[in-house]
Symmetry: C2
Subunit: 445 residues, 2 copies
């Protein structure tokens, strides 16, 4: 695990005033990375600080970074920095923390020249995502969804032994703020003897997920032992795994979800480093009595008590009518990443356990993060129980969601904006935020 | 469809003598692309001609290509050439065909300086494969495999309506000649009440597939109409989709194959262009009476009679013992790509039908190519009927394969080399070969 050092001290302040406000996502203890541009400028790497972003290429060009960081900091994607070793990553964090520390007078005007208001820049994807893999690591989500389709057998026999995952589509990953077009696709025959139909997805859903980016990878044919997995994690982000449930139901047997997912996946622009998250590592999910222990290759000896990351997660929705009336987005659910059955280290180790090579910038997403309670469900299909008000189940509220405008929602409507937000906070350390992951549904074309 | 022009004329000869031999895979009518290097040289694009490869970067550097081709021809991957428009691709083919034509005297010595024997070079992956998707487009394969696991219901209801596919792992795609390490993974509990175990895959298999690379892509949120699909196909190759059946059986529910496939996928070095294949376009698979017609978006008005590609495909195996004794590889099966239920145009159009963006260099594979007869089965699990000699089915020979050394095979053994080969040949035109796609199984580590 990454040691807690001076960069995490809660009383540490920056000369960027907005970073010292208690409710900011980006105090000097965070220092997340993003890729941005202003107007017609080239894309460059930046570091979030308060309401501003520090241009790391500018810092590299003006001699403010050590030689070893100059080339990767001048790239237009984070892959170079992601490929650094663990000790270099700590060194870079400490150097940036010192540049932004309130006591730093030298080079202040050069640094100020490299600052931009976050509101005034455009964000891009933070790195070249060579491969994207989506998991299914919340047992609450897996059980909820399984209950709807297999009431007597919600959880399949492999679930507690394998971090279930599938390869996703990398090309259609977009950065927060990108609109998504409602997909059109095949749907199951309405009645026996009829054929399938094709029309815009009616059951368009979101999935609240947390993603992580791979740091250094492994060569094809080699594995990453669980006790080394943490060294291969670069940082985390928010992911909205948009899903067309009606397309998914018809297409997914026997090879898994395909076009029901590949029309768009939205990630937050900020990558919160594992270094920044060090004070928020907590015990991993405690398996209930009677659950099997993971096989040896997924059992960490060293870090087993701190495989979790305590991220608080929120989903809000804003309909076109709500925005037209000036109403704020409506909170749909709130949960914690500590509810996950599998840790991010187990997910990474499992992925490479067959010799599959991982590369810096690969994205792995957790799968929908749902908790045990109703208000902790991370997708619309769980919140509205498949939109099925006519088929009540004891203990489950299956009525549609009602928005402040009186609009009903079983699934997403055109014009709906979905907003994911996440942050870490405990009594001892400063709040470490992830910013937002937003996307608005546009009509099918 | 691409017109047949002077480059396809069967009596056209090259000044590279080996290209004029009848049995070569690479006559002047083929001109496939590859990426190669010699010794410590940089990687560069080459064109296959007889037993040689013509260095396209060398040609670009010496003024032998039109200005529009110079930059993409000097890249170390084919993506730039793949992104050219359809008429440019024909123009480039015609120009290369002229450079290599027997009548060409000008620049002959410059051209000769750019020739290398194929035996003397190393091949790399031909392009950066951003995303890889594997399909399941042979109804004979789907029925064979389905019969083993669901005897009463081998084909799922969606099969005849949707080209079923799943996202694959791009990072572990390797070029022919790369050894693959037998993967280790979880296997289902041997008996009820026991837990799963983890060990080297015992049921390691190959899958004979044909792949195609995307030419120009589409923007996210747009589709590719079926009548434009052919313009987005760049060329074809051979693919071995190595599969660990025991890992697959335990992991694949509910999200599809994952680690059972992602340890390695082998592609042939040569990309045979759609231009070269023009004389071998044939009627697509004729659906039996009673089968549903595809939905409109998958029904081509213009090209419906020539959606197929008549590629003859062969699989051979050479065990370590066979090589030690100097025995040639043993033919396991032989089939034709005309057996596919879905065409490559339907596959591409379906992939983009939800607005998913395709990019030049994306690889789509057909899924195992099996035909209706026993000797046309494209995987070991089909040839040996899941290695299950104890459970014979009328009309099916379930005994293990016997190699010329007397060795038995139900699945692949360490040291086994698998060799895929393919070519097009008809009475009117020269043989257009794909070369080979080879890989040898190394023991698990």
């Amino acid at each position: 695990m990454i040691p807690i050092d001076f960069t995490h001290a809660p009383d540490r302040e920056s000369w960027v005033d907005s970073a010292n406000q208690l409710e900011t996502d980006f105090p000097i203890q965070n220092l997340p990375f993003a890729v941005f541009h202003t107007g017609d400028d080239d894309r460059r790497i930046g570091v979030g600080i308060g309401d501003q972003i520090l241009d790391l290429k500018h810092c590299a060009n003006h001699g403010l970074l050590a030689e070893e960081f100059v080339e990767p900091a001048r790239q237009d994607v984070l892959n170079g920095l992601m490929g650094l070793g663990p000790s270099q990553r700590i060194e870079l964090r400490q150097a940036i923390s010192q540049l932004l520390h309130v006591s730093t007078e030298a080079d202040r005007s050069t640094l100020e020249d490299g600052l931009h208001f976050q509101d005034a820049v455009e964000f891009s994807l933070p790195c070249q995502i060579h491969d994207y893999t989506d998991f299914y690591a919340s047992i609450f989500h897996a059980t909820n969804v399984g209950s709807m389709f297999r009431p007597n057998n919600p959880l399949l026999p492999n679930y507690k032994h394998i971090p279930i995952g599938y390869h996703g589509r990398a090309s259609s990953i977009v950065v927060s703020g990108t609109d998504l077009v409602r997909p059109v696709g095949q749907k199951a025959p309405a009645e026996e003897g009829q054929g399938p139909t094709r029309s815009p997805a009616a059951l368009l859903d979101y999935e609240l997920e947390v993603g992580f980016y791979v740091a250094q990878g492994n060569r094809l044919g080699t594995t990453i032992p669980i006790d080394q997995a943490e060294q291969h994690l670069f940082g985390m982000c928010l992911v909205n795994d948009w899903s067309a449930r009606d397309l998914q139901k018809w297409e997914y047997q026997p090879l898994g979800p395909f076009l029901a997912k590949s029309f768009a996946t939205t990630v937050s622009p900020w990558v919160v480093t594992m270094e920044a998250l060090a004070p928020f590592r907590v015990a991993e999910y405690q398996r209930p009595e009677g659950d099997p222990q993971p096989l040896d290759y997924l059992s960490s000896s060293e870090n087993s008590s701190s495989g979790g990351v305590d991220i608080q997660l929120m989903v809000s929705l804003s309909s076109q009518q709500m925005r037209d009336r000036g109403l704020p987005a409506e909170r749909l659910s709130q949960t914690r990443f500590t509810n996950m059955y599998w840790t991010i280290a187990q997910i990474l180790t499992h992925h490479a356990s067959n010799g599959c090579n991982l590369q810096p910038g690969d994205l792995m997403a957790s799968g929908t993060v749902s908790g045990p309670n109703r208000n902790e469900r991370g997708s619309m299909i769980e919140l509205t129980w498949n939109g099925d008000a006519s088929n009540p189940t004891p203990g489950t509220d299956r009525t549609p969601l009602i928005l402040p405008t009186g609009e009903e929602r079983k699934f997403l409507a055109d014009g709906d904006e979905l907003i994911l937000h996440g942050f870490c906070k405990n009594e001892q350390y400063r709040r470490i935020g992830f910013g937002q992951c937003r996307g608005t549904v546009q009509p099918a074309i």
